[in-house]
């Protein structure tokens, strides 16, 4: 009987893990994680002066590789939204999944903003991590934002 309870508990734990979050990310000191995050984001943290970091998991039915999604996001931001592609680099999540980071720039009312996007491709899922704010704030919070992006782990 005791053995059955242990097995049941283990299965329950596994089930919880399987049905729960498929990623892990932490908020850096100076940021607060928002509890009632609303779509399209699954997780979001903000700094007092407006810098935001968010994560979303996009379920995919299409069989497309990371290069496809990278190009799709780049085109959308440049061609449709008028953002400037400032940088593009390869990155890795904490669990070693290869990803791509795109850094965009955009002026709003003459003020420069920076928008960073990291894309990781999982099993039938695309993990999208975003960070943004005015360039001045993003420069100021660069270390914290980098730290948060580095804590992303896919499961």
């Amino acid at each position: 009987m005791k053995r059955a309870v242990v097995v049941f508990a283990a299965l329950a734990l596994l089930g919880t893990a399987a049905c729960g979050r498929s990623y892990d990310v932490a908020a850096a000191p100076g940021f607060v994680k928002l509890e009632n995050t609303q779509p399209p984001y699954d997780w979001r943290a903000v700094a007092p002066d407006g810098v935001a970091v968010a994560m979303r998991v996009v379920p995919l039915e299409e069989r497309a590789d990371l290069a496809f999604w990278t190009h799709a996001v780049t085109l959308r931001m440049r061609e449709m939204n008028g953002y400037a592609l400032v940088d593009s680099r390869d990155v890795k999540s904490r669990d070693g999944t290869a990803g791509k980071e795109l850094v965009f720039g955009h002026d709003e009312s003459g003020k420069p903003f920076v928008y960073r996007v990291r894309l990781y491709l999982g099993e039938k899922r695309l993990f999208v991590v975003e960070a943004g704010g005015t360039k001045e704030q993003m420069d100021r919070y660069a270390a914290s934002v980098d730290w948060m992006l580095a804590t992303v782990k896919l499961m």
């Binding site: 928002l34 009632n36 609303q38 399209p40 979001r44 903000v46 407006g50 935001a52 968010a54 979303r56 996009v58 799709a72 996001v73 085109l75 959308r76 931001m77 440049r78 061609e79 449709m80 939204n81 008028g82 953002y83 400037a84 592609l85 400032v86 965009f104 720039g105 955009h106 002026d107 709003e108 003459g110 420069p112 903003f113 928008y115 996007v117 999208v128 975003e130 960070a131 943004g132 704010g133 360039k135």
Partner: protein, 392 residues
């Protein structure tokens, strides 16, 4: 009584002689007009032939030959115009039965016909650099002892023809009333087709480019995505100054700089690193033909000015006033041409680069044709930074 009988006979004889004389005059007039028409047809044919050759030289970018043929054609056209004037005068003289005037005009036409033949012959020799330079040298040599008509041609070629061409024609063809011989005229310095004129701004690039056979004015337009516009504008300006260029125009979201042509490629390469380029257009305009034409007009105008100045020295007061008027007009033309040449040399010596910052406006077609993944619509700063309010 016997004498009275002879009066009607004398009258009839006189009338018959007068009629015969008029008929003879009319015949001579018709012959002279026919000769004038033939001469004019030959001139048109000559001009047409030279024009064809000039077109061929231009299309083959033979600058030396182009310059030579252009010069001959211009002179031929002037001769043609003079012949047309003479033809009209001949017609009027023929109607008036003014034999003296007809003889004079016929002589002029004969001379013009001969000159046209000479020009055609000279144009035939415009086949190579060596001969063209020889022709140019001959022309320069002739500036000081040109025939009056040629000076008039130069005036007409430069577009400085006076409001009263007859007066000018008279002044130049007959010279000022007082002295019979004009003082020697300073020969302008020899010039090659692309002889460099002093650089307007003292730039080392401007003078060099004036030597080049092919004069290409380069320009480039770039559109960058809107990000850090002020900083990027400043960077473009700094870049231009670093390369020896200068700022031409600067607005809120656009800047135009000029960079020396030899550093144009370097400027483009550095500009491409400044931001996200969404559109680029690099073009080259060939201004060789226009430049050669202007150089030729300037040469003619200067020769004209020198000739007028020489005439002015020995002119009586009445003529001097007319000459000064013409001199002022020619000087104005020279200044205008020099200005245009300066602008053209600057255009070739410095390439224009315009950088604009402009966001792409999404078109309806693109909106509909974009990927069917709705989550892409929510990418961007706006949804990320607009955090919904929550009650505590």
């Amino acid at each position: 009584m016997r004498a009275r009988r002879w009066i009607p006979v004398c009258l009839v004889t006189s009338l018959a002689l007068a009629a015969t004389s008029r008929a003879a005059q009319a015949g001579t007039g018709r012959e002279q007009e026919a000769f004038a028409d033939q001469a004019m047809a030959r001139m048109r044919e000559n001009a047409s032939e030279v024009r064809t050759r000039l077109g061929s030289a231009r299309s083959s970018r033979d600058v030396v030959r182009t310059l030579c043929l252009d010069s001959k054609l211009t002179q031929l056209e002037v001769v043609q115009r003079q012949a047309e004037d003479a033809r009209s005068t001949l017609r009027r003289a023929s109607l008036r039965e003014d034999m003296d005037a007809m003889a004079q005009v016929s002589a002029v036409l004969t001379r013009l016909d001969g000159r046209a033949k000479e020009l055609r012959s000279e144009a035939d020799r415009c086949v190579g650099e060596e001969l063209a330079f020889a022709a140019a040298r001959d022309e320069r040599k002739a500036v000081g002892q040109k025939e009056p008509e040629l000076v008039l041609e130069a005036l007409e070629v430069t577009g400085a023809t006076s409001e009263s061409p007859a007066t000018t024609r008279q002044l130049i063809t007959q010279g000022p009333a007082a002295p019979a011989t004009a003082p020697p005229v300073a020969t302008p310095p020899p010039s090659t087709p692309f002889a460099p004129t002093p650089a307007p701004s003292g730039s080392p690039y401007t003078a060099d480019t004036a030597h080049e056979a092919s004069m290409l004015a380069y320009s480039a337009d770039f559109t960058l995505a809107v990000f850090q516009v002020d900083k990027s504008l400043a960077s473009v300006e700094t870049l231009a100054r670093d390369l020896g260029g200068y700022l031409a125009q600067r607005g809120d979201a656009q800047i135009t700089v000029r960079v020396p042509r030899p550093r144009f490629d370097e400027a483009i390469a550095r500009l491409e690193k400044l931001g996200d380029i969404t559109h680029r257009n690099v073009s080259a305009e060939d201004v060789t033909d226009e430049y050669v034409d202007l150089e030729l007009r300037l040469k003619n105008a200067r020769a004209m000015r020198d000739q007028l100045a020489a005439l002015l020295k020995g002119a009586i007061v009445k003529d001097a006033v007319e000459i000064e008027k013409e001199l002022a007009k020619v000087t104005e033309v020279i200044e205008q041409i020099e200005g245009r040449l300066k602008v053209m040399r600057d255009k070739v010596g410095y390439s224009s680069i315009t950088v604009s910052f402009q966001a792409n406006a999404p078109s309806p077609v693109r909106t509909n044709a974009i990927l069917p993944f709705t989550w892409l619509d929510t990418m961007g700063l706006e949804p990320l930074l607009n955090v919904p309010k929550v009650s505590p």
